[in-house]
């Protein structure tokens, strides 16, 4: 397909394709590397942000947990009165702004031997107003509340899962519970729990104040995955990170959740259902609470700057490629324009204008200059060659015209006028010579030797063309010149053969069949020097026979005597002489016309006149050859003897 396009086009295509490929490779590499670097730096930033936030929260939890721990210690080492406890408790709360409420919950009968329950609780109804209530008055059965039961059973302080403190604090909270004990001599006896509540709305505010890009967010989960803070407050307490994973059918999130609750940290990609897109998350544990903080930021915002930068690169590169494209077009046009000029000139030269002088760029030293010079040299050679050719052609034309003259001369040697002897009623003779080349090697002849004897013959010179025709002319002239001198046909042939053999350096020869017919008696003397045996039709019997006798080799080969023989023919008999051009005519199937075909043709048409028969044979041979090139001269000579008319 490309082969039909111009060089300029191909050049632009290849260079641009390579350039674009290189650009894509470099761009992709750059994109991946910068993305990785950016991600690494963002991971560091996210880590710093998450850890500093976690530290801040830890500070808060340390501070919040200090109060109940101190109260627990106070209760363990002293036995304060109810009034003292309440004063101390409210004072501590007043001085701990991060704490929402403080409760001291005693085991049954452990504070007063007489009263079953005692659980004083102070909490902030408003930031300024601290309210007191004894939660044991409420039927809330605090012994079974997580904040009481769990630290009691595990003998350890802990931050509770988020819960709504119904009937007491009436807010969403998490409670830090510290169990305290009394020494009863043998063992430490569990006496109660001191708690500090923190409002989750405060935590929510703290985490919400973290800003990560445009729409990033943070969230906090508890030891068992409960959502403590989240941009969607509906999730708080109601969901765990695991229930969210289940709801979103996102096993990855469950995996992340498990890592978080195990106290690990990590930087992972994940799909945020809240933001509806791919995000990255950094999570880290809080040291004080077994909780975990996560910061989430959307990938597209993360890579916004990078994307912008890369779009710029793409834009600039596209402009560059466009300019490059135009430059390549211009340069390749400039480079190929001499070629185009040369092509036009070549076309001119091709159409015969060899004299064009203005070949371009001959003074250049590059490939174009080389091509131009080579072309100039070619033009010169071509011009010289054409000149030679013209001369040769002229010479050839001269030779051809001379050949044509030779042909005319040759044609003029053989008798062509028919009827040849209109005054002679005794016989009728007709002959045809159809040359294969301009000048043929066949010959026929007939003439009267004297008043009664008619000489007629057919010959075929070896070879073709001018030498053959000259040899033929010599032969014919010799026969004409010496016919009268000889008494017999054999003698005539022997003598002429002698002449022909002499100085025959070219080793040419001629097959020859000659007859001498006494037109009065019908006596026919003939001699065959290596020629095709002629046919003779016996008019009376209708018989067709061949004069098969050969009296010697073709003329011009060896000097030796030839004999002859005589037969007598009757009125109506016809003798048919021919050259091998008849029987050896080929058709397209490479078959020869052949003797049998000639024989049957003659047999079927024995009653035709000499002329008719000769023309019929020629037309049948041509029909047989069916347009195939004639390879040899065709000569047919037919003589019909009518006898002496009285």
């Amino acid at each position: 397909m490309l082969t039909n396009k111009s060089l300029a086009f191909k050049l632009s295509l290849y260079i641009l394709t390579c350039t674009i490929l290189i650009f894509i490779v470099v761009f992709t590499h750059n994109w991946l590397v910068s993305r990785r670097l950016l991600l690494k730096s963002l991971e560091d930033n996210a880590q710093n942000l998450a850890i500093s936030t976690a530290n801040k929260l830890d500070q808060f939890f340390i501070s919040a947990s200090a109060a109940p721990s101190n109260i627990a210690l106070y209760l363990e080492i002293s036995s304060p009165t109810e009034k003292e406890i309440l004063e101390y408790q409210s004072l501590i709360l007043k001085n701990s702004p991060e704490i929402y409420g403080i409760c001291i919950a005693f085991e049954p009968y452990r504070f007063h031997k007489k009263s079953l329950l005692f659980a004083p609780y102070f909490y902030r109804k408003t930031p300024a107003e601290i309210v007191y209530m004894d939660i044991s008055n409420d039927a809330s059965h605090y012994f079974y509340a997580d904040w009481y039961q769990i630290p009691k059973e595990i003998n350890k302080p802990l931050w509770s899962e988020p819960y709504f403190d119904d009937g007491a604090g009436n807010v969403l909270m998490s409670t830090y519970s510290v169990p305290f004990y009394k020494n009863t001599g043998k063992e430490k006896k569990f006496t109660g729990i001191v708690t500090a509540d923190i409002s989750l709305s405060w935590l929510q505010k703290q985490v919400a104040s973290l800003k990560f890009f445009k729409s990033g967010y943070g969230f906090l989960i508890s030891k068992y995955g409960s959502i403590l803070t989240f941009p969607d407050p509906g999730k708080i307490m109601n969901d765990t990170i695991f229930s969210m994973a289940e709801e979103e059918k996102n096993p990855e999130l469950r995996k992340i959740g498990r890592e978080m609750t195990k106290g690990k940290s990590g930087f992972v990609p994940f799909h945020s259902t809240l933001l509806q897109r791919k995000c990255w998350m950094y999570y880290t544990p809080l040291k004080t609470t077994d909780w975990a903080l996560a910061v989430v930021f959307p990938e597209d915002e993360l890579f916004a700057e990078l994307s912008r930068l890369h779009w710029n690169i793409i834009f600039l590169s596209s402009c560059g490629i466009l300019i490059l494209f135009l430059m390549i077009i211009a340069i390749s046009h400039k480079i190929t324009s001499p070629l185009r000029k040369l092509a036009l000139l070549t076309k001119d030269i091709g159409s015969g204008h060899f004299d064009i002088q203005q070949l371009p760029e001959l003074d250049r030293n590059d490939e174009i200059g080389g091509l131009s010079r080579a072309f100039a040299s070619m033009q010169k050679s071509l011009s010289q060659y054409i000149k030679n050719l013209q001369e040769t052609t002229a010479a050839k034309e001269r030779i051809e015209s001379e050949l044509s003259i030779a042909r005319d001369i040759q044609r003029s040697i053989i008798p062509k006028l028919f009827p040849a002897f209109p005054e002679c009623a005794e016989f009728d003779v007709y002959a045809i010579l159809e040359s294969a080349k301009a000048v043929g090697g066949d010959l026929y002849d007939f003439f009267f030797i004297d008043d009664d004897h008619l000489f007629f013959s057919v010959g075929d010179v070896s070879g073709k063309g001018v030498p053959a025709s000259l040899f033929m002319a010599v032969t014919q002239t010799l026969f004409r010149a010496t016919a009268k001198k000889h008494t017999s046909a054999g003698e005539m042939v022997s003598n002429i053969n002698k002449d022909l053999c002499r100085d025959n350096e070219m080793s040419m020869f001629v097959t020859y069949f000659l007859c001498i017919l006494n037109i009065r008696t019908g006596e026919l003397e003939f001699c065959n020097a290596g020629h095709n045996p002629p046919y003779i039709i016996n008019h009376k019997s209708g018989e067709l026979k061949q004069l098969r006798k050969i009296h010697g080799l073709p003329l011009g080969t060896f000097e030796r005597p030839y004999t002859s023989e005589k037969i007598t023919i009757s009125a109506g008999d016809t003798i048919i002489l021919y050259s091998d051009g008849v029987t050896e005519a080929f058709n397209a199937a490479d078959e020869q016309f052949s003797d049998p075909r000639l024989e049957s043709l003659i047999r079927e048409n024995k009653n035709l006149s000499a002329r008719q028969l000769a023309e019929l044979i020629l037309s049948e041979v041509k029909k047989f050859a069916n347009g195939c090139e004639q390879s040899d001269d065709i000569t047919i000579e037919v003589l019909t003897y009518h006898g002496l008319k009285k």
Binding site: Y144, D146, E161, G225, S226, N238, D239, S243, R254
Partner: protein, 329 residues
């Protein structure tokens, strides 16, 4: 003209008031007390109330709920409820102990109770429970877990718990009683994988005792058999409605739960509704019916464990005004 308008408005208002009063009068007011806090476990009753099914059956039902500290049986004893839901085992125990409760529909057809332990605690088979701490709900649901412990002669420390699984998560107890449709899923949603847990489904330990049913006092039934019949029919229709209109019913349920500041997780409640619904409408069982075989099996367990001294008569205990008796006896 103006006068005529006023008269017309007054007459219209009076007609409305009269019609409304008549409407209200024709509904029978009853109270249902569910045996646990609002959750999808009772979605059928809430659906029947919220979507007008009780009203269609001529009932004006008030639904209250028990809590870990106020059991439904206590409240019906005090006359604070006409109908209650209850575990079969608790109900037979109460009946044998003299409280004339009757079962008018056995909604649950199989057991969903199990003990769960963390594999990390080393508990793999019932014997491993010996000497461990087990969290058991303090109100009405203890009979079958106790039967399990007796069956394997397990001597363990029982820690009464109110609700939830946090004590278990924090390793304050080694095992906890949970309902498969509720707390079990909560444990999974606390990040503990199924393969990290050892479970003892009571149904796998020859204790496939059905649980939730609808109860009323025998006297109430004798006096109001038609109300009982309508209540059962409407409740079962409510269940079907709840299963077919999950989202509508759960959205109403979320309101009830949030009102009580309970954690509402739609996905969890949906899961619970499906599990409970499947249990109510089991293939080959007629919904609401309690077969004598089920009844006797439960009674024998209680008898063997000494929880009851005598098996109350089946026909006195279970009347199914809303459907046919179970075929499998």
């Amino acid at each position: 003209m103006r006068m005529n308008n006023k008269i017309f408005l007054i007459i219209s208002f009076l007609i409305c008031v009269a019609l409304h009063a008549d409407d209200a009068k024709s509904l029978d007011k009853v109270t249902l007390m569910t045996h646990w806090l609002p959750q999808a476990q009772f979605a059928g009753y809430y659906a029947a109330k919220d979507f007008g099914i009780y009203k269609k059956y001529g009932l004006d039902v008030t639904i209250k709920n028990a809590d870990p500290f106020n059991s439904a049986s206590e409240l019906i004893k005090q006359g604070k409820a006409d109908f209650i839901t209850l575990f079969l085992s608790s109900a037979i125990k109460l009946r044998a102990n003299g409280l004339k409760l009757i079962n008018i529909a056995q909604t649950s057809q199989g057991s969903a109770l199990l003990f769960v332990a963390k594999k990390s605690s080393g508990i793999q088979k019932p014997e491993d429970i010996n000497g461990r701490k087990i969290g058991l709900w303090m109100s009405d649901f203890q009979e079958i877990p106790q039967a399990f412990l007796k069956q394997y002669k397990i001597n363990a420390k029982i820690v009464p718990i109110a609700s939830g699984i946090n004590l278990f998560l924090w390793n304050g107890i080694d095992l906890v009683t949970v309902m498969h449709y509720n707390e079990f899923n909560t444990i999974i949603n606390s990040g503990i994988d199924n393969d990290e847990l050892t479970t003892f489904y009571f149904s796998d330990h020859n204790l496939d005792i059905p649980e939730d049913g609808i109860y009323c006092m025998e006297a109430f039934y004798r006096k109001n058999p038609d109300i009982c019949r309508r209540f059962v029919l409407a409740s079962m229709e409510g269940w079907r409605y709840a299963l077919e209109h999950e989202n509508d019913v759960l959205s109403k349920l979320s309101g009830r739960m949030k009102e009580l500041h309970l954690a509402y997780n739609k996905f969890h409640q949906q899961w619970m509704l499906k599990k409970v619904g499947t249990d109510i409408f089991r293939k080959g069982k007629s919904p609401g019916a309690l077969s004598e075989a089920q009844y006797l099996k439960c009674s024998e367990v209680l008898l063997k464990d000494g929880i009851i001294k005598k098996v109350p008569g089946y026909t006195e205990f279970h009347i199914n005004p809303g459907g046919e008796k179970n075929a499998d006896k």
